[in-house]
């Protein structure tokens, strides 16, 4: 996950290609988060001004969706599926073991900023469950040992 200091000129450049879209707020939030690692207060003020919305409206959207972060994630982001298909084949045990090994709870980032472990509800990998997404790459047929190894790899 890339992280960068807030920079208004860069933010302008990031959202410029999206200016002509109908209902551009979500695409712009995704683009800003991809560029800066999170949606900071400065980003909320910036988008409110550009789109002629109130800050409350922008904040309301940011806080509604699970994907948008107010603080940067760790350098490695692991999204572990917690939904039913993964539950049926030992997903919870594998996930618990991973959390315990790193001393983290769901949604937390390690103190050194190396790792974030997040819950996700279905990756569509239910035929190769349990599954996870590690920095955007899918891994399946996991157990505790395989998940731990995949995160460390």
């Amino acid at each position: 996950m890339s992280q960068a200091e807030w920079n208004e000129a860069r933010a302008e450049a990031v959202i410029a290609p999206l200016a002509g879209l109908e209902g551009p707020l979500l695409p712009m939030l995704h683009a800003l988060q991809a560029a800066f690692g999170c949606i900071s207060d400065a980003a909320i003020v910036f988008l409110a001004e550009r789109l002629n919305l109130t800050r409350a409206e922008v904040y309301g959207v940011v806080s509604f969706y699970h994907d948008f972060r107010r603080a940067p994630a760790g350098r490695r982001v692991v999204k572990v599926c917690r939904a039913e298909a993964c539950q049926s084949v030992g997903g919870p045990a594998a996930a618990e073991a991973l959390l315990a090994a790193h001393g983290l709870d769901w949604g937390q980032t390690s103190a050194d900023g190396a790792l974030t472990i997040e819950p996700v509800y279905c990756l569509g990998l239910c035929a190769v469950a349990p599954a996870a997404l590690i920095d955007g790459e899918p891994v399946g047929r996991l157990d505790a040992a395989k998940l731990k190894a995949a995160v460390a790899a």
Partner: protein, 516 residues
């Protein structure tokens, strides 16, 4: 040049397809073999993934599951000429699990190069759109109505009626929106279409737009599907490059184009009105209906909003005629359903067949029972809002009405199998928990009821004392604005009804310990 087909379907990637593809490329260049690697979608036989196919003089020959370590051995065995190997599967199309299926919507998935318009056309693509343009708007609508196609997203509303409403609405512009926010656990058919045969969805949307008079389409996909989104965006570019999308899509100055939008991790955005709010750049909160999206949808304009599978079924219907499609099925459920077998099942995958197959056939015969080898105890059909059925209900035919009659739903066609180690009290609690996490907050029964429901399950001493939960479920079912709050009672009440022994506080712990 020998063509080798290796999936880039996300589930195949999750079990090593990328490493296998790299190994094939490496080994081929080492041995000086002229190989063209074609990245396809998946055939949907996931226990055999990564499944590699080779184009030989005798046809396509399959091998699987191929780990990167197996690749050198495959070359040694002469797999580029279809040589025998312990991973040989022969012609995968003749494999019983695939051969028994009726693949209409998934006819091309896993076979074609998803990014090649030429390959799509060579395998029957664009015939549906061509015929629609020939027979005109009204006859196209008529075909879809007569096919009996119902919304494959779960609600089962007749697709043609929805289109007709939009076609008859007067407005300065209209939209076609594809709901690709496939959030139900146990479902992956939309993802497979976007990764394996994205042009069928594009063609289906084009037919819908032509039929109702829309010039703009949106596909609302999920951030949890990064690979599907990349493939689909590339497919849009490929079609645009041929002029199939753009200012002259339906003829001179008769435009149609599609834009891909990505959600941001909210399950409720799979509900059609929440999805429209999200597309408009708002919180994904459910709208009160009426007005229906067909009258006032995206940006207040008449909008066709359909699931990926509904839209991807349309090209076949137009190409082959409504009667051919309606000849498949049972009762008011016409055509085929791409069923997804998932969870603790021996043969997980995509099984498309006519409606009417029983749940027991799906789980035991086609699915092969559990992956763990233990007895099947419960099956959840239709995602996190679907009921848990015990084996006693395995005679239920796969049909919208038959499942509804037994307080269940087929939803998006996902089936998640659980063996006898499942704790149904935990599953019932999870249903409430999930609803609490994903509730959009607009209506009270869902927002508050879900949290109170989880608490009530914690306090429950016995299934006999469940009146409070049953009463709460009644309120959620009839008082919620959408299916999230309205259907969460299905998994909860079915767990209580069919698995009461798991709710006995005293007995539960030792039973689970014994099973675990």
């Amino acid at each position: 040049m020998i063509r080798v087909f290796i999936p880039r379907d996300a589930a195949a990637l999750a079990v090593g397809a990328e490493a296998a593809a790299r190994a094939v490329g490496r080994e081929a260049s080492k041995r000086g073999a002229a190989v063209e690697i074609v990245r396809t979608g998946s055939r949907g036989l996931f226990w055999l993934e990564p499944l590699i196919e080779v184009q030989t003089a005798q046809g396509r020959v399959a091998y699987g599951p191929v780990a990167a370590d197996d690749v050198a051995g495959l070359f040694d065995a002469g797999f580029l000429d279809g040589g025998a190997h312990r991973l040989s599967l022969g012609d995968i199309a003749a494999y019983p699990w695939l051969k028994q299926q009726t693949r209409l919507t998934f006819a091309r998935c896993g076979i074609v190069d998803p990014l090649s318009v030429a390959d799509y056309v060579a395998h029957g693509g664009l015939q549906g759109l061509k015929r629609a343009l020939e027979i005109g708007h009204a006859a196209t609508l008529g075909e879809v109505i007569q096919s009996g196609l119902r919304g494959r997203g779960g609600a089962g509303f007749p697709t043609g009626i929805k289109w007709k409403t939009v076609a008859e609405a007067k407005a300065d512009r209209k939209y076609v929106v594809c709901n690709a926010d496939e959030g139900d656990s146990g479902t992956f058919a939309d993802r497979m279409v976007m990764e394996g045969d994205p042009m069928s969805l594009i063609e289906g949307m084009a037919i819908a737009a032509f039929a109702v008079g829309a010039s703009k389409g949106y596909v609302y996909s999920r951030s949890e599907y990064p690979h599907a989104n990349v493939t689909f965006a590339q497919a849009l570019d490929a079609v645009r490059a041929t002029g199939g999308l753009g200012p002259h899509a339906f003829g001179p100055n008769n435009p149609f184009d599609i834009e891909l939008r990505i959600g941001a991790g909210a399950y409720v955005c799979g509900e059609e009105t929440a999805l429209l709010e999200s597309l408009e750049g708002k919180r994904g909160q459910v709208r009160v209906k009426p007005p229906l999206p067909a009258h006032k949808g995206l940006f207040g304009r008449p909008t066709v909003i359909n699931n990926v599978l509904s839209l991807a079924s349309v090209p076949w219907i137009l190409a082959n005629g409504a009667a051919s499609y309606a000849a498949f099925g049972l009762g008011r459920s016409r055509g085929t359903m791409p069923i997804q077998l998932a969870g603790n099942v021996k043969y997980p995958g995509l099984y498309e067949c006519a409606f009417g197959v029983t749940l027991g056939e799906l789980v035991n015969d086609i699915g092969g029972g559990t992956r763990s080898g233990r007895p099947v105890r419960a099956v959840q059909v239709g995602g996190p809002l679907g009921a848990y059925f015990p084996p006693a209900l395995f005679d239920t035919p796969f049909d919208y009405e038959a499942f509804a009659a037994r307080d269940g739903l087929i939803g998006h066609g996902g089936i998640v199998v659980f063996d006898d180690s499942v704790d149904m009290r935990a599953q019932a609690r999870f249903a409430f928990e999930f609803c609490a996490i994903e509730s959009c907050g607009k209506c009270t029964p869902c927002r508050i009821g879900s949290t109170r429901g989880a608490e009530a399950i914690d306090k429950l001493e016995s299934a006999r004392d469940a009146e409070l939960i049953e009463d709460l479920c009644e309120t959620m079912k009839f008082g919620s604005l959408c299916a999230l709050g309205g259907f969460t009672p299905y998994p909860v009440l079915s767990a209580l009804k069919y698995f009461p022994e798991d709710f006995e506080k005293e007995a539960a712990a030792p039973a689970r310990a014994a099973a675990g």
